[in-house]
Symmetry: C2
Subunit: 315 residues, 2 copies
């Protein structure tokens, strides 16, 4: 067993990002919009500031009233000197926030939250152009979790289906983490049980593959179905257990519930595993935060590269 | 005082719609997708079926598992014989449903729920082309409420600002009704207090008008600000009171709370006004449903007209 510190893994990625930024020859600028004065979104903004200074990205964090966020985003979209935009949610409720998320220009959406990127993800479109030069952006936390699985030895990046044969159980099916994560893992070959308050769903690699054009179905290499599997069974069978339940009423996962040698990752701000989970898990990752913000910086570079490919600049 | 039956008002609109459809020379076809077997969404689907048969629209209602909705929408988008699509929400939670809403092709979104139409609304863009031939679509319930205000004599459709000088109080700030409604009313000249669990906001016609291009702010002829006004004051001052609170813990609005002669409209499935509100209100509209579905049919015609203008067909 081992506790895996995401900050350690993030270091390697940040070294690469720092090198690449140095070679760019121009400063990368991020604009961040924060409405809260404390709480998780403030913490995440502070994280971003530290990570940016670590890799040499200029971070312009502005405190805005939530009702000003819309105008601030419009200005940042139009400002050619700003390469990426981060909005610290929640601002309003989930529906109003979903509206705001789609106001960020996808080409500046380093968190990959715009519905344009979501559609790429759910349809497993990894490039946004026919020539396959412009890479699609993935949401930061799900991407961070895949990278942590790779660091834990459960994700074979050289294989066509890096998670083939793996079973995973995820507690959380939010639109920003749980649902994209389940799809990405199924796209990569895993069989995933996804729990939320609404019950369980099963995400499986599709047996039929990409359907024919006659069905008009968007290409999607996984199937989803409602499931009646319970926590006990899903945990007992899982090679990978991922939790993101921001509620104290969720009973923390205990060692006797999991398969010996399972990889356990918690991305909730609350402890969703018992401390002694390490007695039975092969790898335990107690938090994801440092990797999430690192993936946002990686996305910034990716979007910058896309922009250069679309509009090469004279140096 | 008078109780205004929305079915009566809807009748006039339906007569116009029926005439126009008869003149089209081709059948209009709507596809509806329903996951629930009972409850409000089933009721609304039944309403749609009746209204369609009333005006001569072919309504193809299909029961789908919620996980099949996405594929069904993709097929209906691609099917040239389908003119409009209605999805009966909720399917999942608010965030996942927001994703689904944006999968409906805006040109077939007769409910005006796509974020493309929402952006038109919030920026008060009433046409989607430079030549101002293609009209934007408004969401059905807010549009229905404006038409009911017109029927009640509070909305002067011939004026530049049909609600100029009016004060309104709305209990509900959802993305599908309350927030768009508050914006539309402010766009039309009213001063609106908007309540939800999160507190009050004030929507006012903008004093500065459409801002200059230098601000990069999208044109928006109203201002929104957080407000500390309480229920008592907001109700006492309102010429128009509109309620949509789907909770029994909301104390129904009583006659002594409102301004004498106020117009009162309830669009919740729960009674948000006391029965004796009619003793002080000038007009009371206890429900909106029949007008909502009528506006969906009106939108269907509008979208069909837009399509004809884009691609005129040989007869």
């Amino acid at each position: 067993m081992a506790v895996l510190d995401p900050a350690e893994i993030a270091k390697t990625y940040r070294d690469e990002i720092r090198d690449e930024i140095r070679r760019l020859g121009e400063p990368l600028v991020l604009a961040g919009f924060l409405a809260a004065e404390h709480g998780p979104s403030k913490t995440y903004a502070d994280y971003t500031a530290k990570a940016c200074s670590d890799v040499g990205v200029q971070f312009d964090l502005r405190q805005v009233a939530r009702l000003e966020a819309e105008d601030a985003i419009a200005q940042a979209n139009a400002d050619a000197s700003i390469h990426g935009i981060v909005v610290y949610y929640p601002l309003f409720g989930p529906e109003h926030d979903a509206y705001i998320r789609d106001l960020v220009e996808p080409a500046k959406d380093i968190e990959g939250l715009h519905s344009f990127w979501a559609r790429c993800l759910y349809q497993n479109r990894r490039f946004i152009d026919a020539e396959k030069r412009l890479k699609a952006i993935l949401p930061c936390t799900p991407l961070a979790i895949l990278k942590l699985l790779e660091a834990a030895g459960a994700f074979d990046a050289t294989a066509e289906k890096p998670l083939a044969g793996k079973r995973a159980t995820i507690f959380n099916r939010s639109e920003v983490v749980g649902r994209p994560l389940a799809s990405m893992m199924a796209n990569d070959g895993a069989e995933v049980v996804s729990f939320d308050v609404d019950g369980a769903q099963l995400f499986r690699p599709s047996e039929t593959g990409v359907p024919g054009a006659d069905t008009h179905r968007p290409p999607r290499p996984y199937d989803v179905s409602e499931s009646t599997v319970d926590r006990e069974t899903a945990l007992r069978d899982a090679d990978i257990v991922i939790t993101g339940v921001p509620s104290r009423s969720f009973p923390p996962v205990s060692p006797d519930e999991i398969k010996p040698g399972a990889i356990c990752i918690n991305f909730s701000t609350i402890k969703n595993f018992r401390e002694d989970i390490v007695e039975r898990a092969s790898v335990f990752v107690p938090r994801v935060g440092p990797m999430t913000v690192t993936m946002a910086l990686r996305n910034t570079l990716r979007l910058h590269r896309n922009a250069q490919l679309i509009r090469p600049r004279a140096r």
